[in-house]
Every structure is written in C-alpha cells, then in structure tokens.
Amino acid sequence: MKEELQKRVIKGPDGVEFEVEPLRDYYCEAPPTVMPGAYIQIVEDLFNWARAESIWILGFGTGCGAIEMRPLMTPRFDAYRYGVQWRPTPRQANLLMISGYLSTKTLKRAIRSYEQMQSPKYVVGLGSCTINGGMYWDSYNTIKRLDDYLPVDLYIAGCMPRPEALLAGFQDMKKLIRAGKGEGANRYAENFDWYKANQKRVIHDWDMPDYSW
C-alpha cells in the first residue's frame, strides 16, 4: 500500500499528537445500498423514459474499442440525435462503456469510475474481449468476463463492432431501460461481496475502501 495511505501520527498546530488513518478519515466507508425506484409506478416509468432518452456516457476509453466511439460524435453517425451525450465526469454519466479488453490495471480504474456514477447506471461491454476475453483469453493481465466484475447490462459483440453496431446497441439499451431492466446498480449492490471478491482476486493492490463513493 502506498505510504501516503498508511496510518500516520500527526502533530497538530497546538502540539497535540494524534493518529490519521487515511482510509478511514479521508474516504467514506459506507457500502452501496439497493436503491428502489419511485414509489409511484407512473413516475418511475416517466423517469425510465427519460433515462432511456438521455443516456450520458462516461467518456472513458478503456480498450481498442475506444476508437470506435469517436465516430459517433461526428456528422456521419451523430449519436446526439438519440439523446446520447458524452460526459467527462462519472458523477454526471449514466453509462459506462467498456470499450474492449480490460487490463487488470484499467479494471481498477473502471471499477472506481463505475462506483462513482450515480444510480441507476449501466454498463455496456463492447466487443468480444469483454464477453470472454476474446483473443486475449489466455493473457496474463486482462480480464476475461467483464460480468464477473461489473454488472453488465448489454454486450455488443464484434471485434471490433462498428459504430452502427453501437448505435444499434444504444437502441437496445434504451429498450432495456424503458422496460425497467436497467437495474445493474442494484444488482451490484445486492451482490456487492461477490463482485468485490472477484475484483480483488485479480486486483491485488486494492488500496481503498471497498466502494468508491
């Protein structure tokens, strides 16, 4: 663990010494909870519609598929017309696009970014690498099944899938959301221990509280 995250004894300005434990003092340690929808179904339906029509993607290019996302912003494909936008910060994004294989190192960042998004939030796996490892099935440092680590809502198969496939995937995602099936965040919270165990199995230097708020 980084030295900065270890416990340390600090002397305050008044000369009194006390202990600082960064992981406890600087991070929120609460686990994720299951977030139910709106109490009134019609409201939840409205929200689901809105969620479907306003998909904000976290602009986090994780693998080689990231290159396929750029054309979506161009005049040729223009995903904006479907209510799809890219946000630079996970706080404001709803959809985490895992665009290709994930090395364990990137996985750590991807997990953090996912956890910092607000629910309901969705994960889309792009390309076969996210499904079963693809051509890197025996690689020593990529993960094979994204689903073991993050609650994937949708896979878009292909190596790599073309932008048109992505657009099609968005449409499917919208359907899922509108049908109220985009509950990956709650699944993650329910099976948090399982996911965390899986994650920690490949990420050996997990040096934060379990859930990154």
């Binding site: 709106a38 306003s54 904006y80 017309r81 936008q85």
Partner: protein, 301 residues
C-alpha cells in the same frame, strides 16, 4: 409598505415562460451549432429529458453544506436576475419585481450565482473545480469590464439607471435604439457578452477533458438539475438586460423571443467560428479590443 401580492403569480408566470423558452432556446442554439458541424443535433426537447432524468437519478452524494448551497445560489442568482428586471416593456404583468432595484442591482446580482457556485464547487474539494473557478473568475474580471463601461455610458446617455426608463427612451422607432444612438457602447457590450456566455473562444473555464467541465465537475443528479434549470434561465435573463439596454427592449413576448434569440445567436455564431483562447489570452483580448471601445463609449457620451 404596500405590496401588490398579484406580482408574485405574475412573476412566476414570467419565470415559467422564460424557463421553457430557455430550454428550447438552448436546444435550438445547440442544434444550430450542430448544423454548422453538419450534424443533426439533439432533439429540441432533449434538455427537458435531461432535466427529468437528472431528477430521476436515485442516488446522490454530498460533500457538505456549501455543496448544497452552490446550486441554490446559482439558480437563485438566475431567478433573481430575471425577476429584478422588467421583461416586457410597458406591461405591469411582466414588470416582475423591478421595483426592488434598478440596473445596478441586476448587474451586481449576476455575481450572486457565480459566487455561490464557486463556493459550492470549492466545497467539493476537487482541484479541477478550483482550477475552473480560478479561470472563470480571472476571465470575468476583464470580460465584464466593457459591459460595465457600456452600461455606464448608457446610463450617462439617458441620465438614468432605471431599466424601464432606458427602454422608454428607446421607443419610437428602431433608430432610437441604443444600438444606433450609441453604437460604440453596444459594440463594447456585445464583445463582453461573448465572454459571459461560456462559449468558444472563451470557454476554457469548462475545458471538458482537461479539467472535466471545471467547477461543476462533482455535481450530479438534482444538483445538476438545478444548475440546468439555471442554464435555461440565466442566459435569457442576461440577454434581457442587453435587450433592454441596447436593443429597445420588448413590448410583447414575440419581440422578446426574437430579440433574445438573435442576441443569443451572436455568441453562438462567434462560438462556432473561433477556437479556444487560453485565460491570459482572453484577458488580453478583452483589454486590448473591448475595453478601449468601452472607454471610447463613455468619453463620447
């Protein structure tokens, strides 16, 4: 104090109209900008959907009290700004709460939201937010200067600080507009306007990838929804001031919509044409190009 309580529903009505107009106007401008890039652009109602979605998000986090207050300040600033300025000239109904203060109140109230937002962003503890604020405040010191000079020039010209009286003085034909009676001031003000709309070339404050959108980088869910609402209100409210000061005001809603749209279009127009300035570049730009115009305008009055 006698207070006409009917002013409250009237003001709310104005607010309602402006919010909706603002949402649509924003989308329209975005669409126009997209069209310049040969894209189709977002649906015209996209901003409504985004708003509902953001309210509909189930989870949210908070960094502390000021984190709450930031968006509240922001939206209060927008709403207040709108309400302190008469929207429609000659209409009692849409004169809003302009009895509370004159032009100066409006000008200074612009900062209410800015300040609050900056504080909220600071509370998040995010360095990018602070960097964004640093850039934004740096830029605003010079970008507001030509406007201040132009306003002073106009106030000198009409010998009043009352918005209503300034508009009244511009009635009776397009040539009575400040645009024609005091073109230099208007030029200065319109350059300043570019700086305040967070559009290129003056949008380094929000640099989306470098400092993920700057101050609001930690904001989400309903916080963001509040700020989105403000994004609908605030530009319109601000443009209303420009419209009243320089473009003869509006005596009915269609004129209002048209003029606001056209003024807004000016910043969009410049924005799609020019690339981004660094902060010090924009500071220099305003000081070199816009401020002298402003000075000229107060000397010429």
């Amino acid at each position: 104090m006698e207070f006409d309580w009917m002013k409250i529903p009237y003001a709310l009505l104005t607010l309602f109209i402006v919010v909706n107009y603002g949402f649509l106007l924003n989308a329209l401008i975005q669409k126009i900008a997209a069209r310049v890039g040969r894209r189709y652009g977002i649906p015209i109602w996209q901003n409504y959907v985004d708003l509902i979605k953001n309210y509909g998000l189930r989870s949210s986090i908070t960094h502390g009290a000021m984190f709450y207050l930031g968006p509240v300040f922001r939206l209060s600033g927008g709403v207040g700004l709108l309400l302190f300025v008469p929207a429609i000239y000659g209409s009692y109904m849409f004169s809003n709460l302009s009895f509370a203060g004159d032009l100066i109140l409006a000008l200074y109230f612009i900062f209410f939201g800015t300040l609050g937002m900056a504080l909220g962003a600071g509370e998040s503890g995010h360095p990018y937010a602070a960097i964004g604020v640093s850039r934004g405040l740096s830029q605003v010191t010079t970008s507001e200067l030509p406007l201040a000079l132009a306003v002073f020039s106009v106030a000198l010209q009409y010998q009043t600080l009352s918005v209503t009286e300034i508009v009244a003085a511009q009635q009776g034909g397009i040539l009575n507009w400040t645009l024609f009676t005091n073109p230099v001031a208007v030029a200065a003000a319109m350059l300043s306007f570019l700086g305040s709309m967070m559009r290129p070339p003056f949008d380094v404050v929000l640099a989306p990838q470098e400092i993920p959108i700057g101050p609001p980088t930690e904001y989400h869910s309903s916080y963001l929804a509040l700020m989105q609402t403000n994004r609908a209100i605030f530009p319109v409210a601000k443009i209303v001031i420009y419209m009243n000061l320089f473009f003869g005001g509006a005596s009915d809603w269609p004129t209002f919509f048209l003029k606001v749209f056209l003024i807004y279009l000016w910043s969009a127009f410049v924005g799609v044409v020019f690339p981004r300035f660094r902060v010090e570049q924009s500071i220099r730009w305003f000081l070199i190009w816009a401020v002298p115009l402003g000075i000229l305008s107060i000397l010429m009055v």
